[in-house]
Protein backbone atom coordinates (compact mmCIF):
# COMPACT_ATOMS: atom_id res chain seq x y z
CA UNK A 1 0.00 0.00 0.00
CA UNK A 2 2.83 2.32 0.93
CA UNK A 3 4.72 1.61 -2.29
CA UNK A 4 1.53 2.16 -4.27
CA UNK A 5 1.17 5.70 -2.96
CA UNK A 6 4.91 6.37 -3.40
CA UNK A 7 4.68 5.05 -6.97
CA UNK A 8 1.60 7.17 -7.58
CA UNK A 9 3.56 10.27 -6.56
CA UNK A 10 6.57 9.23 -8.63
CA UNK A 11 4.45 8.55 -11.70
CA UNK A 12 2.54 11.79 -11.46
CA UNK A 13 5.82 13.71 -11.11
CA UNK A 14 7.28 11.83 -14.10
CA UNK A 15 4.21 12.32 -16.30
CA UNK A 16 4.10 16.03 -15.45
CA UNK A 17 7.71 16.39 -16.55
CA UNK A 18 7.06 14.34 -19.68
CA UNK A 19 4.09 16.52 -20.63
CA UNK A 20 6.12 19.67 -20.04
CA UNK A 21 8.71 18.28 -22.43
CA UNK A 22 5.92 17.55 -24.93
CA UNK A 23 6.55 13.83 -24.88
CA UNK A 24 4.24 11.41 -26.65
CA UNK A 25 5.66 8.35 -24.99
CA UNK A 26 7.70 7.55 -21.93
CA UNK A 27 10.10 4.66 -22.50
CA UNK A 28 11.95 4.57 -19.21
CA UNK A 29 11.51 6.07 -15.77
CA UNK A 30 14.64 6.02 -13.62
CA UNK A 31 14.32 6.20 -9.86
CA UNK A 32 16.95 6.43 -7.14
CA UNK A 33 15.88 4.61 -4.00
CA UNK A 34 17.96 4.68 -0.84
CA UNK A 35 18.58 1.56 1.20
CA UNK A 36 17.10 3.31 4.24
CA UNK A 37 14.09 4.78 2.45
CA UNK A 38 11.87 1.98 3.70
CA UNK A 39 10.65 1.30 0.18
CA UNK A 40 10.98 -2.11 -1.49
CA UNK A 41 11.88 -2.08 -5.20
CA UNK A 42 9.81 -5.22 -5.88
CA UNK A 43 6.72 -3.57 -4.49
CA UNK A 44 7.46 -0.45 -6.56
CA UNK A 45 7.65 -2.62 -9.71
CA UNK A 46 4.33 -4.18 -8.85
CA UNK A 47 2.72 -0.79 -8.29
CA UNK A 48 4.23 0.51 -11.53
CA UNK A 49 2.65 -2.34 -13.51
CA UNK A 50 -0.68 -1.59 -11.88
CA UNK A 51 -0.61 2.18 -12.39
CA UNK A 52 0.85 2.74 -15.87
CA UNK A 53 -1.77 1.20 -18.21
CA UNK A 54 -3.65 3.93 -20.04
CA UNK A 55 -0.91 6.49 -19.40
CA UNK A 56 1.93 7.74 -21.58
CA UNK A 57 4.17 5.38 -19.60
CA UNK A 58 2.25 2.23 -20.49
CA UNK A 59 4.79 -0.49 -21.25
CA UNK A 60 7.67 1.67 -20.06
CA UNK A 61 10.64 0.28 -18.20
CA UNK A 62 11.10 1.12 -14.53
CA UNK A 63 14.82 1.34 -13.76
CA UNK A 64 15.62 1.51 -10.06
CA UNK A 65 19.04 2.52 -8.85
CA UNK A 66 19.63 1.46 -5.26
CA UNK A 67 21.58 4.01 -3.24
CA UNK A 68 23.51 2.33 -0.42
CA UNK A 69 23.46 3.78 3.09
CA UNK A 70 26.58 5.85 3.81
CA UNK A 71 27.52 7.18 7.20
CA UNK A 72 30.12 9.53 8.60
CA UNK A 73 32.40 8.55 11.46
CA UNK A 74 33.46 11.69 13.32
CA UNK A 75 36.17 9.87 15.27
CA UNK A 76 37.94 8.47 12.20
CA UNK A 77 36.85 11.37 9.96
CA UNK A 78 35.83 9.01 7.24
CA UNK A 79 32.73 8.03 5.39
CA UNK A 80 31.72 4.40 5.29
CA UNK A 81 29.10 2.35 3.57
CA UNK A 82 26.91 0.00 5.50
CA UNK A 83 25.14 -2.85 3.79
CA UNK A 84 23.30 -4.25 6.76
CA UNK A 85 21.76 -0.84 7.55
CA UNK A 86 23.57 -0.51 10.85
CA UNK A 87 25.89 2.35 11.23
CA UNK A 88 29.00 0.91 12.80
CA UNK A 89 32.34 2.30 11.68
CA UNK A 90 34.41 -0.59 10.26
CA UNK A 91 37.59 0.89 11.80
CA UNK A 92 36.70 1.98 15.32
CA UNK A 93 33.39 0.09 15.60
CA UNK A 94 31.64 3.03 17.18
CA UNK A 95 28.09 3.69 16.03
CA UNK A 96 27.42 6.72 13.89
CA UNK A 97 24.22 8.67 13.66
CA UNK A 98 25.39 10.79 10.77
CA UNK A 99 23.62 9.51 7.75
CA UNK A 100 25.11 10.94 4.56
CA UNK A 101 23.08 9.00 1.98
CA UNK A 102 20.51 6.25 1.89
CA UNK A 103 17.16 7.93 2.40
CA UNK A 104 16.74 9.03 -1.22
CA UNK A 105 13.51 8.54 -3.07
CA UNK A 106 13.74 10.47 -6.28
CA UNK A 107 12.79 10.51 -9.94
CA UNK A 108 16.20 10.77 -11.58
CA UNK A 109 15.38 10.97 -15.28
CA UNK A 110 13.07 9.90 -18.09
CA UNK A 111 13.55 8.55 -21.58
CA UNK A 112 10.86 9.96 -23.82
CA UNK A 113 9.98 10.67 -27.38
Amino acid sequence: MHELSIMQSALSLALDQARQARAVRVHTIRLRIGALSGVAPDALEFAFEALTPGTMAEGAELAIERVPARFWCAACTREFQSDDLFAECPDCHSPSGELRAGREMEVASLEID
Partner: protein
Protein backbone atom coordinates in the same frame (compact mmCIF):
# COMPACT_ATOMS: atom_id res chain seq x y z
CA UNK B 1 20.36 22.51 -34.82
CA UNK B 2 18.13 22.32 -31.83
CA UNK B 3 18.21 18.82 -30.39
CA UNK B 4 14.64 18.92 -29.26
CA UNK B 5 12.66 19.59 -32.37
CA UNK B 6 15.22 19.91 -35.12
CA UNK B 7 13.93 23.41 -35.82
CA UNK B 8 17.23 24.87 -36.91
CA UNK B 9 17.61 27.29 -34.00
CA UNK B 10 20.42 26.75 -31.58
CA UNK B 11 17.89 25.96 -28.84
CA UNK B 12 18.66 25.84 -25.18
CA UNK B 13 19.04 22.59 -23.40
CA UNK B 14 19.38 23.54 -19.77
CA UNK B 15 20.81 20.94 -17.46
CA UNK B 16 17.54 20.26 -15.71
CA UNK B 17 14.87 20.01 -18.36
CA UNK B 18 15.30 19.30 -22.03
CA UNK B 19 12.99 21.96 -23.30
CA UNK B 20 13.47 25.27 -24.98
CA UNK B 21 11.56 28.45 -25.49
CA UNK B 22 10.86 29.96 -28.84
CA UNK B 23 10.72 33.60 -29.60
CA UNK B 24 7.29 34.83 -30.65
CA UNK B 25 6.81 34.56 -34.36
CA UNK B 26 9.52 31.94 -34.72
CA UNK B 27 8.82 29.62 -37.63
CA UNK B 28 9.44 25.93 -37.84
CA UNK B 29 10.88 25.13 -41.19
CA UNK B 30 11.08 21.38 -41.05
CA UNK B 31 13.06 19.76 -43.78
CA UNK B 32 11.92 16.19 -44.04
CA UNK B 33 13.75 13.88 -46.30
CA UNK B 34 12.82 10.28 -45.83
CA UNK B 35 10.14 8.62 -47.84
CA UNK B 36 8.38 6.69 -45.12
CA UNK B 37 4.75 7.07 -44.63
CA UNK B 38 3.50 7.43 -41.12
CA UNK B 39 1.01 9.03 -38.84
CA UNK B 40 1.82 12.18 -37.08
CA UNK B 41 0.95 12.93 -33.49
CA UNK B 42 1.63 16.39 -32.21
CA UNK B 43 1.48 16.90 -28.50
CA UNK B 44 1.43 20.66 -28.76
CA UNK B 45 -1.81 22.53 -29.12
CA UNK B 46 -2.67 24.18 -32.39
CA UNK B 47 -4.61 27.30 -32.98
CA UNK B 48 -7.60 27.04 -35.33
CA UNK B 49 -5.60 28.24 -38.29
CA UNK B 50 -2.87 25.70 -38.00
CA UNK B 51 -1.99 23.48 -40.94
CA UNK B 52 0.60 20.84 -41.42
CA UNK B 53 3.14 22.94 -43.17
CA UNK B 54 4.87 23.48 -39.82
CA UNK B 55 4.87 27.20 -39.76
CA UNK B 56 3.68 28.28 -36.35
CA UNK B 57 2.21 31.72 -36.49
CA UNK B 58 1.24 31.64 -32.82
CA UNK B 59 3.80 32.83 -30.34
CA UNK B 60 4.71 30.16 -27.88
CA UNK B 61 6.87 30.32 -24.83
CA UNK B 62 6.12 26.88 -23.55
CA UNK B 63 8.63 24.02 -23.65
CA UNK B 64 8.04 22.58 -27.08
CA UNK B 65 9.26 19.73 -29.15
CA UNK B 66 8.24 18.14 -32.39
CA UNK B 67 8.21 14.51 -31.46
CA UNK B 68 6.23 12.21 -33.71
CA UNK B 69 4.95 8.76 -33.22
CA UNK B 70 5.46 6.73 -36.35
CA UNK B 71 3.25 3.81 -35.61
CA UNK B 72 0.91 3.85 -38.56
CA UNK B 73 1.31 4.47 -42.23
CA UNK B 74 -0.95 7.20 -43.43
CA UNK B 75 0.90 10.37 -43.79
CA UNK B 76 2.30 12.36 -46.59
CA UNK B 77 4.97 14.75 -45.57
CA UNK B 78 8.57 13.77 -45.45
CA UNK B 79 10.56 13.92 -42.27
CA UNK B 80 14.05 14.26 -41.03
CA UNK B 81 14.44 10.97 -39.19
CA UNK B 82 16.70 12.61 -36.63
CA UNK B 83 13.80 14.57 -35.18
CA UNK B 84 12.24 11.56 -33.54
CA UNK B 85 15.22 10.49 -31.49
CA UNK B 86 14.66 9.46 -27.92
CA UNK B 87 15.42 12.16 -25.44
CA UNK B 88 16.48 12.07 -21.85
CA UNK B 89 14.83 14.44 -19.42
CA UNK B 90 16.78 14.95 -16.24
CA UNK B 91 14.30 15.28 -13.39
CA UNK B 92 16.18 14.79 -10.10
CA UNK B 93 13.30 15.56 -7.88
CA UNK B 94 12.23 13.89 -4.67
CA UNK B 95 9.22 11.65 -5.19
CA UNK B 96 7.66 13.15 -2.10
CA UNK B 97 8.62 16.64 -3.20
CA UNK B 98 5.04 17.86 -2.82
CA UNK B 99 4.75 16.41 0.69
CA UNK B 100 8.12 17.89 1.66
CA UNK B 101 7.05 21.35 0.53
CA UNK B 102 3.77 21.13 2.45
CA UNK B 103 5.70 19.89 5.48
CA UNK B 104 7.96 22.95 5.31
CA UNK B 105 4.87 25.11 5.16
CA UNK B 106 3.49 23.42 8.30
CA UNK B 107 6.86 23.86 9.99
CA UNK B 108 6.94 27.57 9.24
CA UNK B 109 3.34 28.00 10.31
CA UNK B 110 3.96 26.29 13.66
CA UNK B 111 7.28 28.02 14.32
CA UNK B 112 5.68 31.40 13.77
CA UNK B 113 3.22 30.51 16.52
CA UNK B 114 5.87 29.25 18.94
CA UNK B 115 4.60 25.67 18.71
CA UNK B 116 6.97 22.80 19.39
CA UNK B 117 5.74 19.92 17.21
CA UNK B 118 6.32 16.23 17.94
CA UNK B 119 5.44 13.35 15.61
CA UNK B 120 4.77 10.08 17.51
CA UNK B 121 5.40 6.90 15.57
CA UNK B 122 5.17 3.25 16.55
CA UNK B 123 3.49 -0.04 15.80
CA UNK B 124 -0.18 -0.33 16.78
CA UNK B 125 -0.67 -1.10 20.45
CA UNK B 126 2.63 0.20 21.76
CA UNK B 127 0.85 2.79 23.89
CA UNK B 128 0.98 6.05 21.94
CA UNK B 129 -2.47 7.28 22.92
CA UNK B 130 -2.09 6.46 26.60
CA UNK B 131 1.38 7.97 26.71
CA UNK B 132 0.19 11.18 25.02
CA UNK B 133 -2.83 11.41 27.32
CA UNK B 134 -0.68 11.05 30.44
CA UNK B 135 1.92 13.46 29.02
CA UNK B 136 -0.72 16.12 28.51
CA UNK B 137 -1.89 15.65 32.08
CA UNK B 138 1.63 15.76 33.43
CA UNK B 139 2.66 18.80 31.41
CA UNK B 140 -0.36 20.62 32.76
CA UNK B 141 0.01 24.37 33.01
CA UNK B 142 3.65 24.53 31.91
CA UNK B 143 3.00 23.50 28.35
CA UNK B 144 -0.30 24.15 26.63
CA UNK B 145 -0.79 21.13 24.47
CA UNK B 146 -2.91 20.36 21.43
CA UNK B 147 -3.17 16.95 19.80
CA UNK B 148 -3.71 15.72 16.26
CA UNK B 149 -4.39 11.99 16.05
CA UNK B 150 -4.49 9.79 12.97
CA UNK B 151 -6.20 6.44 12.52
CA UNK B 152 -7.71 4.58 9.60
CA UNK B 153 -11.15 4.71 11.23
CA UNK B 154 -13.04 5.67 14.42
CA UNK B 155 -12.50 8.64 16.70
CA UNK B 156 -11.90 6.45 19.75
CA UNK B 157 -8.43 7.84 20.33
CA UNK B 158 -9.62 11.43 20.03
CA UNK B 159 -12.29 10.73 22.63
CA UNK B 160 -9.74 9.21 24.98
CA UNK B 161 -7.45 12.19 24.49
CA UNK B 162 -10.20 14.75 25.05
CA UNK B 163 -10.52 13.46 28.62
CA UNK B 164 -7.47 15.63 29.31
CA UNK B 165 -9.30 18.80 28.29
CA UNK B 166 -6.75 19.50 25.53
CA UNK B 167 -8.00 20.43 22.06
CA UNK B 168 -7.90 17.35 19.83
CA UNK B 169 -8.44 16.88 16.10
CA UNK B 170 -8.94 13.38 14.74
CA UNK B 171 -7.79 12.59 11.20
CA UNK B 172 -9.36 9.45 9.76
CA UNK B 173 -7.23 8.38 6.83
CA UNK B 174 -9.61 5.75 5.38
CA UNK B 175 -7.21 3.22 3.95
CA UNK B 176 -4.06 5.32 4.03
CA UNK B 177 -1.42 3.82 6.28
CA UNK B 178 0.31 7.04 7.35
CA UNK B 179 -0.31 10.72 7.94
CA UNK B 180 1.02 13.15 5.36
CA UNK B 181 1.78 16.85 5.50
CA UNK B 182 -1.40 17.82 3.67
CA UNK B 183 -3.64 16.02 6.21
CA UNK B 184 -1.77 17.69 9.06
CA UNK B 185 -2.07 21.08 7.34
CA UNK B 186 -5.84 20.63 7.16
CA UNK B 187 -6.00 19.51 10.81
CA UNK B 188 -3.98 22.56 11.88
CA UNK B 189 -6.75 24.76 10.48
CA UNK B 190 -9.32 22.98 12.63
CA UNK B 191 -7.32 23.26 15.82
CA UNK B 192 -7.65 26.32 18.02
CA UNK B 193 -3.99 27.21 18.39
CA UNK B 194 -4.51 30.21 20.63
CA UNK B 195 -2.21 29.94 23.64
CA UNK B 196 -0.87 26.52 22.62
CA UNK B 197 2.88 25.98 22.63
CA UNK B 198 3.11 22.22 22.14
CA UNK B 199 1.54 20.10 19.42
CA UNK B 200 1.62 16.32 19.66
CA UNK B 201 0.81 14.41 16.47
CA UNK B 202 -0.07 10.75 16.93
CA UNK B 203 0.65 9.05 13.61
CA UNK B 204 -1.13 5.96 12.31
CA UNK B 205 0.22 2.88 14.09
CA UNK B 206 2.70 1.50 11.57
CA UNK B 207 6.46 1.03 11.76
CA UNK B 208 7.13 1.32 8.04
CA UNK B 209 5.31 3.93 5.99
CA UNK B 210 5.10 6.94 8.32
CA UNK B 211 8.92 7.08 8.32
CA UNK B 212 8.86 8.45 4.77
CA UNK B 213 6.51 11.35 5.41
CA UNK B 214 7.73 14.59 6.95
CA UNK B 215 4.77 16.30 8.60
CA UNK B 216 6.64 19.49 9.53
CA UNK B 217 7.55 18.24 13.00
CA UNK B 218 10.49 19.42 15.09
CA UNK B 219 11.14 15.99 16.53
CA UNK B 220 10.24 12.40 15.83
CA UNK B 221 9.36 10.29 18.81
CA UNK B 222 9.41 6.52 18.20
CA UNK B 223 7.85 4.28 20.83
CA UNK B 224 9.05 0.79 21.62
CA UNK B 225 6.98 -1.03 24.21
CA UNK B 226 8.56 -3.71 26.36
CA UNK B 227 5.92 -6.15 25.10
CA UNK B 228 7.22 -5.93 21.54
CA UNK B 229 10.60 -7.58 21.92
CA UNK B 230 14.03 -6.01 22.16
CA UNK B 231 14.92 -6.55 18.51
CA UNK B 232 12.26 -4.25 16.99
CA UNK B 233 14.86 -1.56 16.19
CA UNK B 234 16.89 -4.13 14.24
CA UNK B 235 13.83 -5.36 12.37
CA UNK B 236 12.63 -1.87 11.39
CA UNK B 237 15.79 0.22 11.07
CA UNK B 238 14.51 3.08 8.87
CA UNK B 239 11.94 4.34 11.35
CA UNK B 240 14.27 4.03 14.35
CA UNK B 241 17.05 5.63 12.37
CA UNK B 242 14.86 8.69 11.87
CA UNK B 243 14.04 9.02 15.59
CA UNK B 244 15.15 12.00 17.65
CA UNK B 245 13.75 10.32 20.74
CA UNK B 246 13.06 6.67 21.45
CA UNK B 247 10.53 6.12 24.24
CA UNK B 248 10.53 2.69 25.83
CA UNK B 249 6.94 2.38 26.99
CA UNK B 250 5.04 0.12 29.41
CA UNK B 251 8.10 -0.53 31.59
CA UNK B 252 5.71 -1.49 34.40
CA UNK B 253 5.26 -4.71 32.37
CA UNK B 254 8.98 -5.33 31.89
CA UNK B 255 9.30 -8.12 34.38
CA UNK B 256 6.14 -9.93 33.26
CA UNK B 257 7.37 -9.84 29.65
CA UNK B 258 10.91 -10.90 30.46
CA UNK B 259 12.12 -7.64 28.91
CA UNK B 260 15.90 -7.58 28.53
CA UNK B 261 16.69 -3.94 29.18
CA UNK B 262 20.38 -4.02 28.23
CA UNK B 263 19.70 -5.71 24.91
CA UNK B 264 16.91 -3.27 24.10
CA UNK B 265 19.12 -0.26 24.87
CA UNK B 266 22.03 -1.74 22.91
CA UNK B 267 19.78 -2.33 19.89
CA UNK B 268 18.44 1.22 20.02
CA UNK B 269 22.01 2.57 20.29
CA UNK B 270 23.04 0.49 17.32
CA UNK B 271 20.35 1.85 15.02
CA UNK B 272 19.82 5.32 16.48
CA UNK B 273 22.98 6.32 18.35
CA UNK B 274 21.99 9.97 18.56
CA UNK B 275 18.45 9.51 19.81
CA UNK B 276 17.54 10.44 23.38
CA UNK B 277 16.08 7.47 25.19
CA UNK B 278 13.40 7.63 27.88
CA UNK B 279 12.09 4.65 29.82
CA UNK B 280 8.52 5.31 30.77
CA UNK B 281 5.29 3.94 32.09
CA UNK B 282 2.17 5.97 31.44
CA UNK B 283 0.40 3.77 33.97
CA UNK B 284 2.69 4.36 36.96
CA UNK B 285 4.06 7.72 35.83
CA UNK B 286 7.64 6.43 35.88
CA UNK B 287 9.93 8.43 33.61
CA UNK B 288 7.37 11.15 32.93
CA UNK B 289 9.20 13.76 35.01
CA UNK B 290 12.34 13.37 32.92
CA UNK B 291 10.21 13.54 29.78
CA UNK B 292 8.51 16.71 31.01
CA UNK B 293 11.88 18.34 31.82
CA UNK B 294 13.13 17.45 28.37
CA UNK B 295 10.13 19.07 26.67
CA UNK B 296 10.39 22.21 28.80
CA UNK B 297 14.05 22.46 27.87
CA UNK B 298 13.21 22.04 24.18
CA UNK B 299 10.55 24.70 24.42
CA UNK B 300 12.99 27.11 26.13
CA UNK B 301 15.58 26.53 23.43
CA UNK B 302 12.92 27.12 20.81
CA UNK B 303 12.01 30.44 22.41
CA UNK B 304 15.64 31.49 22.65
CA UNK B 305 16.00 30.89 18.92
CA UNK B 306 12.90 32.85 18.03
CA UNK B 307 13.77 36.51 17.42
CA UNK B 308 10.15 37.56 17.91
CA UNK B 309 10.06 36.33 21.50
CA UNK B 310 13.07 38.40 22.59
Amino acid sequence: MCENCGCGLPGETPAGVSAHHHEPGHEHGHEHDHGQEHSHEHEHEHGPGHHHGHDHPHPHAHPHTHAHSHAEADHDHPHDAGGEARRTVEVRRAILDKNDRLAERNRGFCRARGLLVLNFLSSPGSGKTTFIRESVRKLGPDLKTGVIVGDLATDNDARRLRETGAPVVQITTGTVCHLDAEMVGRALKQLDLTNLNLLLIENVGNLVCPASYDLGEDMRIVLLSVTEGEDKPLKYPPIFQSADVVLISKIDLAQACGHDRDTALANIRRVAPKARVFETSAKTGQGLDAWREFLLQQQRERKALDPLSL
